[in-house]
Symmetry: C2
Subunit: 253 residues, 2 copies
Amino acid sequence: MPDPIWRRIAEDLRLKIETGELGSGGKALPSELELRDEYRASRNTVRDAVKWLISRGLVETRPGQGTYVVQAIDPFVTSLTAEHSPGVSQTTTYASEVAGRKATVSDPRIEVQKATGKVAEQLGLTEDDSVVSRHQRRFIDDIAWSLQTTFYPMDFVVRGATELLVPQDKPEGVVQYLAEKLGIRQTGWTDIMQVRAPDEVESDFFGLPDDGRVAVIEIRRTAVDQDKKPFRITITTYPADRNQFTVTVVENE
Amino acid sequence: MPDPIWRRIAEDLRLKIETGELGSGGKALPSELELRDEYRASRNTVRDAVKWLISRGLVETRPGQGTYVVQAIDPFVTSLTAEHSPGVSQTTTYASEVAGRKATVSDPRIEVQKATGKVAEQLGLTEDDSVVSRHQRRFIDDIAWSLQTTFYPMDFVVRGATELLVPQDKPEGVVQYLAEKLGIRQTGWTDIMQVRAPDEVESDFFGLPDDGRVAVIEIRRTAVDQDKKPFRITITTYPADRNQFTVTVVENE
DNA sequence: AACGATTTGTTCGTATGTATC
DNA sequence: TGATACATACGAACAAATCGT
């Protein structure tokens, strides 16, 4: 008997959950007191087992109600190599593969900040320069889907792209606007993707448990213009439990 | 006082860790008994706080030794859109961005199986067909880095590509071998990327905690030939705590 | 090699608080 | 309002791992 009691209970419950013996049909698991009697352990030991199931994302507890099996979420698929379609904003949304789902975007929160750290570095700015940031919350079927912040050099506004400061979504796309206004054409981008624990803002917005169990996927997109000069940085975070990504590469012949 | 005691202790410890006041220089945190006295709480309550820090990946406990601040791992960066360089195997390794790191690959474990599920579907096979799978363990600087399984139609072997059954790494690349032997040229691929909890094999190999805290990133790559027909499926899993990915897109003019 | 001290891990019992029905 | 269920907190005991003597 190498394993602790709580672990054996957890494995037993996992088996019963995966075979559908427990929790099917939205019914709750037996209460902690019932499990205590069933496994002849203390309530604390049973709770340790349930905590392990929670950490695996198999169940969730609702105070005053019971312990429920977590229903799998139909994942939303985002392409990181979508073709640039005119009229489709590359700034606020990536192309969606899933039909029949309603994507909505909040109006952006505009801020003007000092350029700092990696953003300044990648945009070729110094600490004295300013950047415009446009922060948006994005939903699918009214479910919190991603948080997105895009940075532009403040110089763009000075040179005439004043609409960057308008706190309103541009469905036709900021990329197209910059092309018309400043002659800056987007010719490509590089994404850097990492998985990390959510911060408090992300936990709140996505409704994630505060134990850091569900990770977020952070994608930093650096877009370059016709001179291969980075002109825009977009940072998007997605909760890992309901997002997938695709990358399609066609080698040139 | 809306927050539980364990949470306040955890936040306080987090602050002290992030400012370097605690745990810097590889020293252990105060023992649970010391923390109990310091915060005037019970040992169990202190342990709840530490558990939260563990779940955030900030600290780790070592039985008989103490609680230590987790050292950040220098992430390994993998490109999902690397150019196909002759001589570089696209089968066993993606291109690495990080210099000075030694990548090694185990000899493959070869299996012949019935084609099932998505693999059969994407390769255009039926349940009666067989597939060859080549499973490899990959290391960077002798650290477990990824697990990879590649599936080919058994028909390839029948048609002459018998080396698919040789349990030995092909540094020059299976892709090149298939091109020479069968005239199948890889012209592109599609990756599907998801984040999920590790299974037991992955936890063991990567040395992950068994509480599912550290997720794995699973990438399923479907490669297509000159007729746009899928001919190879590669499933690779990476531990999320030490891997990043890049995607570079250059729009054609 | 053996032992004792220290530290984390497991398990129990108990009491009280809070949310839901 | 009362009953039920999960959440928090405390105290206690023993086990297991580690380290220094």
